[in-house]
């Protein structure tokens, strides 16, 4: 297929940022982050199967500051993608498509993902 060398819609350069478009972009970004998380989950399961020595080494990496930041990023990405994904499933069912409702559900997704991430950090620190 012949490709045209021109601006491709939507024209991000002149597009006014809105909550709805921003949340849509974050949904994709968190989806990409979580795909890497899936690979790391596979690696973590492999490390359990590999035995206690290898698992201890992996746990050491997880307990470093960058490991903890990665876990935090994965937790937030998961809660965001989960909440916004449910929002999308409702849209697929034809529910909540009014502009006002999309803004309300958008704010609810941001709020719930921040609260759930904070709650998870708190509970994990209590457990450890």
């Amino acid at each position: 297929m012949a490709t045209v060398d021109g601006p491709i819609s939507p024209h991000i350069q002149i597009y006014k940022p809105q909550l709805t478009s921003l949340l849509s972009i974050i949904h994709r970004a968190t989806g990409i982050v979580l795909s890497f998380g899936a690979l790391l989950l596979g690696f973590w399961l492999l490390s359990v199967a590999a035995g206690p020595e290898f698992y201890a080494q992996v746990t050491e990496y997880i307990n470093t500051w960058y490991g903890q930041i990665a876990l935090l990023a994965f937790a937030f990405s998961l809660y965001y993608h989960l909440g916004n994904g449910i929002r999308h499933l409702f849209w697929d069912a034809g529910i909540g498509l009014e502009i006002e409702t999309t803004y309300k559900s958008g704010y609810a997704v941001i709020l719930s993902s921040v609260i759930l991430t904070a709650l998870s950090c708190y509970l994990a620190s209590c457990a450890s």
């Binding site: 994709r28 989806g31 795909s35 596979g42 399961l45 998870s120 994990a124 620190s125």
Partner: protein, 129 residues
């Protein structure tokens, strides 16, 4: 007047030759991942300080093995479907697009198989005597 044959109308397949299969698979896996991912994250939180033996004992619980297998299959399938859409939307050179999609499909197959093999290996206790 439509030029489509009655058979093509009934099958509902467009130019992509696969109808709504991709779309529907993405929704089904999304729906499955709602409870599965919440369960998995909650389990990880409760095991934040768990030692190796506790983690192995947890994975070896039959219901955990089954849920983990379902989680991993739905997760990698969903990831692969979603990444394909992102690649199709943002990469416009045909060969780069196809290379990326093939890479994503192969990587997710490897990730899913490695995860499944690990879970089954732990469940059957091949290395943990």
């Amino acid at each position: 007047m439509s030029l489509r044959t009655p058979l093509s109308k009934v099958k509902g397949l467009g130019s992509a030759k696969q109808g709504v299969h991709h779309w529907w698979q993405q929704r089904l896996t999304a729906l499955a991942l709602v409870p599965l991912s919440l369960w998995f994250v909650y389990s990880l939180i409760t095991m934040a300080a768990a030692d190796y033996a506790t983690v192995v004992a947890w994975i070896r619980l039959p219901y955990v093995t089954i849920l983990l297998i379902m989680f991993v299959v739905a997760l990698f399938h969903h990831a692969q479907l979603g990444l394909q859409i992102v690649i199709e939307d943002y990469i416009h050179s045909e060969w780069q697009k196809f290379s990326c999609i093939i890479l994503v499909k192969f990587l997710s197959a490897v990730g899913a198989l490695a995860s499944l093999l690990s879970v089954l290996n732990i469940f059957f206790g091949f290395n943990v005597s």
